[in-house]
Amino acid sequence: MKLLVCVSKTPETTAKISFSGDNTQFNEAGVQFIMNPYDEWYALVRALELKEKAGGSVTILNVGPAANDTVIRKGLAIGADNAVRIDAEPKSSLFVAKQIAAHAKEEGYDMVFLGKETIDYNGSEVGGMVAELLGQPYISFATAMEVNGNTATITREIEGGVEVAEVDTPFVLSASKGLAEQRIPNMRGIMMAKRKPLKVVAATDATDLAVVASYELPPAKSAVKLIDPENMDELVRLLSEEAKVI
């Protein structure tokens, strides 16, 4: 199986979010960046498990500047065989998807994995876009997958439950919690990662059709109103009359 895992670089979960340049840019100063957890913990690890069982290769793909190489190397340390970085600033989802699709078309992967969303822009868009550009089925929010030959049986999250779908390769899949268990890279993996190939390629021409014009922080939450634990009638009254939610 020839497998591609698309990974993003995102601010760490607890990062302080602020903006610069008249609220038009995310302020990266002092922010720690990580590999998007859905990409790392679930998409990458499930791809590695498949390779370990059935053979083949796992390639990591990132669209981004040279600063992203540390994130890519981590993926190699966890166990991917090689990596490709498409050298461009990832400013919009369709731009990124077109880069991934151009690479995937050339290489012809059996499966393309992505996390269900990135924890910064939370769009959940790129998987569907890549699938459409490749003309392939897309199974989103996968929580389990078994592969038998060229057929995958995938459990995906839907409202209030799950759906089990069967699909033949090639296809695109987005990974949710449950698809695999996080792996911590060991020293050997980290050493080997330094020698694994990381190819940098130029971007395909594509326009940003939707871009962030400005950011704002949500209105500050007013201080919590503490209610006497003996007086739940008061809480009910406030929920009804003040908050008007019941």
Binding site: P11, T13, T14, F19, P37, Y38, S92, S93, L94, A97, I119, D120, Y121, N122, S124, E125, G128, M129, A131, E132, L133, Q136, P137, Y138, S140, F141, R156, E157, I158, E159, G160, G161, V162, E163, V164, A165, E166, V167, G178, L209, A210, V211, V212, A213, Y215, E216, P218, K221, V224, K225, L226, P229, M232, L235, V236, L239, S240, A243, V245, I246
Partner: protein, 319 residues
């Protein structure tokens, strides 16, 4: 023209479909055009979408569309958009809608915004707001392409009745064969799924064990709320995974989120901070969740939750 795909799982519209049509109608007003609703597969009483502002309803009734396949559905929606002359498409930000959004954007070479939380503005560019950084900030996107695709965050706007039932026209679109076979669907019946719930009662490790969940279920029953839990609770198997709310679980945006015995780790807050009102019950006054709460009760949840349940029953009986 604005085309709204109104989802009809098992042939029935949910509130999210009416929200989407209301949103499409308002978007059409901003653009000085009309809103058309689209139904796929079985859709009972589709004419009612007119009440929420659809000038007409078009349908593709092929039963093959009752099973969701993003590839098939996106092809049909894009062709229907072409047939009615729509350049703006609105879908719900549901599990299906999220898969459709990207596909439609790629297919139509359209700028897209995921989980729109407000009606677009069109004053010096078409702009739409959405939450980013797991609700820690809001971004206003500008779409520069002629075609545009938006998914609407649930509970972002309320359905508004502005008209009356309209005629439903069949639209002739080829339905491609699906390459995905649905083998099984397992959903919890009888309760509102968490992503759509308006009232949520959630509990965490403070419950001490799964056998104590009765008080949470009782409170949820009184309120007509959906139950949820924190990650450690789902991970230890005290509660099913689909109840896990937070960064790696479900993101909720109810009108009321009641959290009992949950400390409020940042990963949990990422899943709940779009809630309109948050009530936190915790015996630890230093629990970080109180900083994100509107109302707080510092006390033992095993006393407070049943007391709150009694107070709510009394309130319900009198109103």
């Amino acid at each position: 023209m604005v085309l709204v795909y109104a989802e009809s799982p098992k042939g029935k519209f949910k509130k999210s479909a009416f929200e989407a049509v209301t949103y499409g109608h308002k978007t059409a007003q901003v653009l000085g055009t009309q809103c058309v609703a689209l139904t796929l597969g079985d859709a009972e009483n589709a004419g009612q979408l007119g009440k929420y502002g659809a000038a007409k309803v078009v349908s593709v009734g092929d039963a093959a569309l009752n099973n969701f396949d993003s590839q098939v559905h996106a092809a049909v929606i894009a062709d229907a958009a072409k047939a009615v002359g729509a350049s703006v498409i609105v879908v719900s930000h549901s599990s299906s809608g999220k898969a459709l959004l990207g596909r439609l954007a790629a297919r139509m070479d359209a700028g897209s915004v995921s989980a729109a939380k407000a009606v677009p503005t069109n004053d010096g560019g078409f702009k739409v707001k959405t939450n980013v950084f797991s609700g820690k900030a809001i971004a206003e996107y500008q779409i520069n392409s002629a075609n545009k695709v938006l998914s609407l965050m649930g509970n972002a706007i309320q359905p508004e009745e502005v008209g009356s039932d309209v005629a439903v026209e069949a639209v002739s679109v080829t339905v491609p064969a699906s390459r995905v076979a649905i083998k099984e669907v397992k959903t919890v019946e009888g309760t509102v799924p968490l992503p759509e719930a308006e009232l949520v009662v959630s509990a965490g490790r403070g419950m001490k064990g799964p056998e104590n969940w009765g008080i949470i279920e009782d409170l949820a029953t009184t309120l007509g709320a959906t139950t949820a839990c924190s990650r450690p609770v789902a991970d230890t198997g005290w509660r099913p995974h689909h109840e896990h709310v937070g960064q790696t679980g479900v993101a909720v945006r109810p009108n009321l989120y009641i959290a009992a015995g949950i400390s409020g780790a940042i990963q949990h807050l990422a899943g709940v901070n779009s809630s309109k009102v948050i009530v936190v019950i915790n015996k630890d006054p230093e629990a970080p969740f109180f900083k994100a709460a509107d109302y707080g009760v510092v006390g033992d949840l095993f006393d407070v939750v049943p007391r709150l349940n009694d107070a709510l029953k009394k309130y319900k009986a009198n109103s």
